[in-house]
Each structure stands twice: as structure tokens, then as C-alpha cells.
């Protein structure tokens, strides 16, 4: 069964460092998303991506964040200068039009 895969599963980084979270969406999907879940809180929308550009982003997705689909298969989330409050589980998801999103297993980001 096709699935969304995310790497790494756990990333520890120092405050102020850049991190790149990687995702391989399901191959025939056209819509890509990043969500995050701060420990003990709800899953929050960050950004959606379609046709090589951002479709929508939340207020969380500020200038420190960027997304890219560098090679037609990977979908990356970059945090330019991490803060302590960026510590969370980050979920990548993909979907076809008008269907449910399929989520990856998540990357747990710990900023120290």
C-alpha cells in the first residue's frame, strides 16, 4: 500500500540552527501539506503546496519556514533558524483532489 514517508524520525538541533525535514509523498498525489503537533496539543495546519507553489499558509508559517519540492519526489520543510518553541512533531501529508490526506509517521523535532 502506498504511504507517505518522512525522514528523519527524530531530529535534535541547537537553537538557531537550520533544519530540513524531508517527506516523500504518495507518487500520484498532487497536493502536499505540512502539519505540526506540539506535545499535548492539537494538530495544526502549517502550509499546503500545489503545482510548485504554496496554496495556503497559516500564521505559524512565518519567514523562518519554507517548503520546496526540489526533485519531483521529495517535499521538504526548512526552518531557517530554529527556536525552542519549534519543538514539535511535524507531519507531512499528501492527497489527490477532494480526498482525504494521507499522513506520514512524523518527524519529532527537538530544539535544545
Amino acid at each position: 500500500e502506498p504511504e507517505v514517508t518522512q525522514t528523519p524520525s527524530h531530529q535534535v538541533t541547537q537553537m538557531g540552527q537550520e533544519v530540513i525535514l524531508r517527506c516523500v509523498p504518495i507518487s500520484n498525489h498532487l497536493y502536499f501539506y505540512w502539519y505540526r503537533q506540539i506535545l499535548g496539543q492539537k494538530v495544526e495546519f502549517l502550509v499546503s503546496f500545489y503545482n510548485n507553489e504554496i496554496s495556503e499558509k497559516s500564521e505559524i508559517f512565518d519567514d523562518q519556514f519554507s517548503v520546496e519540492r526540489p526533485d519531483g519526489s521529495n517535499f521538504t520543510l526548512k526552518i531557517r533558524s530554529t527556536k525552542l518553541e519549534d519543538s514539535a512533531m511535524y507531519f507531512c501529508a499528501s492527497s489527490e483532489a477532494y480526498t482525504e490526506a494521507f499522513f506520514g509517521q512524523g518527524t519529532r523535532l527537538t530544539v535544545v
Binding site: Y33, V43, Y50, A93, T99, E100, A101, F103, G104, Q105
Partner: protein
Amino acid sequence: AQSVTQLDSQVPVFEEAPVELRCNYSSSVSVYLFWYVQYPNQGLQLLLKYLSGSTLVKGINGFEAEFNKSQTSFHLRKPSVHISDTAEYFCAVSLAIGNFNKFYFGSGTKLNVKP
């Protein structure tokens, strides 16, 4: 604005007992409705979805949910739970924006099944 409310943050239940996890939503437009399950240290797995048609939808692992438009609810039920159902359950609505769906999640309900 869209919002999803899961009224119970934790639901303890004994094995083989029935369970209902409540979900209410608010939206000014039509939405799709979903339940996702998150097992410890894992990602979000789709349990079931309501897109259209019959208001009673059946999902994996014996779960079902009923869409009630007048009450704007989408409660999740299982007639007899197992220890393995212990997990966190998230209700979500999706709103069509252009060609994609933006998901709004509830705060989650932790189901704790006791032997």
C-alpha cells in the same frame, strides 16, 4: 470560520465495553469529516471518512461514525473495544479550498482501554 470540538480529552473504558467519542464541528460551508487514530509514537492513520451519501460510515477496526447535520456532530463508536484500541483519536473536518482540502483537527481524545 471552521472549528472542531472534541468534548472529552480522555475516555477510560473497560475491554469489551462499548465506546463513543464525541465530535462537534462548526462551519458555514459544507465540509468533509474524518476520524484519525494515533497510536503511541506513530503517525495519523485514517479510521473513516464521510464525504457524502449514507450518514453512517464504517471504518477500520470495527469503528463507525454517524454524521448528523442538524446537530453538526460526527461521533465515533465501537460496540466492543479491545486493549489494542488504546490510542488518541482525532476528529477532523476538511474544507475545500480551490482543489485541495484544508484540514482542521480537534484537540484529540485519548481512549484508554482497561482489562
